[in-house]
């Protein structure tokens, strides 16, 4: 579904991504783990089209999208849960969700999307007329996920969704991701919380200072001594 070949991204002089290649197959849950500042968010942002790649190629469903603007990629079925949630602060929960459904023309699809969001996160229904900035961090994260799902994406990119969340919300959001995966949604998940990410992912890539250094199934990565030492807290 997603094929990334040798992309490079730099911010001014600083080369943030070097020769990054990876794939995400239909229905897979793939995770990219790595330390803070390794370039995980930059990978997702380049797939979404929010940063330009200087080199390399990105293919989505067999189509080269490397130089396509973000809004057209969204229309092809790519959706992003951005780092830091990026809820529209002065729009209501309902309006935030409607923004997520911007590319959907069909009223029925939008309504069933709303129903789905509220079933997944009942608290959003209670808060539907509240503006985004009045929600708690956990609620904002739920809204960010629900908003990204409203477009009925083929591929959903999730960026550090456990960051800054209370432990109970972390459990809950990972359960939601697992559910989505079981429903057949293709997911690319970027996480600092490597243990949790590997526990639910099919495959994983390890990113170190802008380069992919390892790629394997989640099980193998979990038992890999290097990964254990660097990302799973020893032992």
């Amino acid at each position: 579904m997603l094929k990334v070949r040798g992309i490079e991204v730099s911010y001014g002089e600083f080369l943030a991504l070097k020769e990054i290649s990876f794939t995400v197959n239909d229905g897979e849950l793939v995770t990219i783990i790595g330390a803070n500042g390794a370039g995980k968010s930059t990978i997702l942002r380049s797939v979404m089209g929010l940063v330009k790649c200087q080199r390399g190629e990105i293919q989505f469903q067999g189509k080269v999208i490397t130089s396509m603007p973000a809004h057209q990629r969204a229309r092809l079925g790519i959706s992003l849960v951005p780092e830091g949630r990026k809820i529209f602060p002065d729009l209501t929960v309902m309006e935030n969700l409607m923004m997520g459904a911007y590319i959907q023309q069909d009223r029925k699809t939008i309504d069933s999307g709303l129903e789905e969001s509220f079933r997944l996160f009942p608290v959003l229904k209670e808060r539907r007329n509240q503006v985004g900035k009045t929600l708690s961090g956990g609620e904002q994260q739920m809204l960010a996920i629900a908003r990204a799902l409203m477009s009925r994406p083929r591929l959903i990119l999730m960026d550090e969704i456990s960051l800054g969340l209370m432990p109970i919300y972390v459990e809950e959001t990972f359960r939601v991701i697992q559910n989505l995966h079981q429903q057949g949604v293709t997911i690319l998940l970027v996480e600092q919380n490597a243990r949790k990410a590997l526990a639910i992912a099919d495959r994983g890539y390890v990113l170190e200072t802008g380069e992919i250094v390892l790629s394997d199934t989640s099980q193998n990565l979990e038992s890999n001594p290097q990964v254990k030492k660097a990302y799973l807290g020893g032992s």
């Binding site: 929010l50 603007p69 809004h71 959706s79 990026k86 529209f88 923004m99 911007y102 908003r147």
Partner: protein, 285 residues
């Protein structure tokens, strides 16, 4: 007497709102101080005046004035601001100031340095109840501004495009990731904001019964003061600030009769707001 001042203040304040809204919308989405917006306003008055001379119908001249301004605003955005967006915001600001001066000079060269009279009438007649009097042009201003504000409000709160416009002003990048073509939204902002400025130009042309090359000078800085007063980029705040300034001007000059120029009122208000509520009347800290 008090009601009379209230009516006068609201009438002038609502024209200020028409001018300032475009400015605040452009700032909200591009973070550019669009000084040439006042030139777009004067252009609307000129286009309105010319078409009124040709056709003799006020309503048609209003629509043509608005269309002329909308088109001009769109071209300014597309061919002057867009290519400069990767530069520090001082670059489009300088271009904007230069463009404004060039527009004033162009009006002078084409239409002459003298004032042109724009005595359009629609046959409503003035309204007077006892001491209270509304002139025909005041009625027109209140009606047209009210209508335009309701339409703008409906677009912003009831349509998909309006939702995208508001989202873009908060976070353009995230908005684009949901399939919104941000460039199209920016263009719509300029079209709408400039059409409103054009309407204001026509209305002031008829209200003062004159159109002249530098008619945009005072609105240029007054609308800037109003936009700051309303909280840069804040649409309801800008409408409120416009009415406050319109009313304050009328009351200070008409009731208190302090001998200072009415155009100073907006700036005194702006200085006070910057001292005590730097985020604007409706803004949040």
């Amino acid at each position: 007497m008090l009601i009379q001042q209230l009516a006068n203040g609201i009438a002038i304040g609502s024209v200020y709102a028409l001018i300032s809204l475009g400015l605040t919308m452009v700032y909200g989405i591009l973070r550019i101080l669009h000084v040439a917006h006042a030139g777009i306003y004067a252009l609307g008055a000129y286009v309105g005046w010319f078409s009124f001379r040709l056709i003799g119908d006020f309503w048609l001249s209003l629509l043509i004035g608005m269309a002329g301004s909308a088109l001009a605003g769109y071209f300014v955005q597309r061919y002057l601001y867009s290519p400069l967006l990767h530069l520090p915001r001082i670059a489009p600001l300088i271009v904007s100031i230069g463009l404004f001066i060039a527009m004033e000079e162009t009006f002078r060269i084409i239409a002459g340095p003298h004032t042109l009279t724009y005595n359009a009438r629609v046959g409503l007649g003035d309204l007077s109840i006892g001491n209270f009097q509304l002139t025909e042009t005041q009625i027109l201003i209140l009606f047209i501004t009210g209508l335009i504000l309701v339409i703008l409000w409906a677009i912003l709160t009831r349509t998909r495009t309006g939702l995208a416009m508001r989202a873009c002003a908060m976070d353009a990048e995230t908005t684009s990731s949901f399939g919104v073509n941000v460039n199209a939204i920016i263009a719509i902002n300029f079209l709408l904001g400039s059409a409103m400025a054009g309407a204001a130009g026509v209305l002031i042309g008829v209200y003062d019964n004159q159109v002249w090359p530098t008619m945009g000078s005072i609105p240029a800085y007054k609308s800037l003061a109003i936009v700051v007063l309303g909280g840069l980029g804040n649409i309801p705040g800008t409408v409120l600030a416009s009415l406050v300034v319109g009313l304050a001007e009328t009351f200070f000059i008409g009731v208190v009769a302090i001998p200072f120029p009415r155009d100073a009122v907006a700036f005194i208000a702006m200085i006070l707001v910057l001292m005590f509520r730097p985020y604007g009347l409706l803004g949040k800290a």
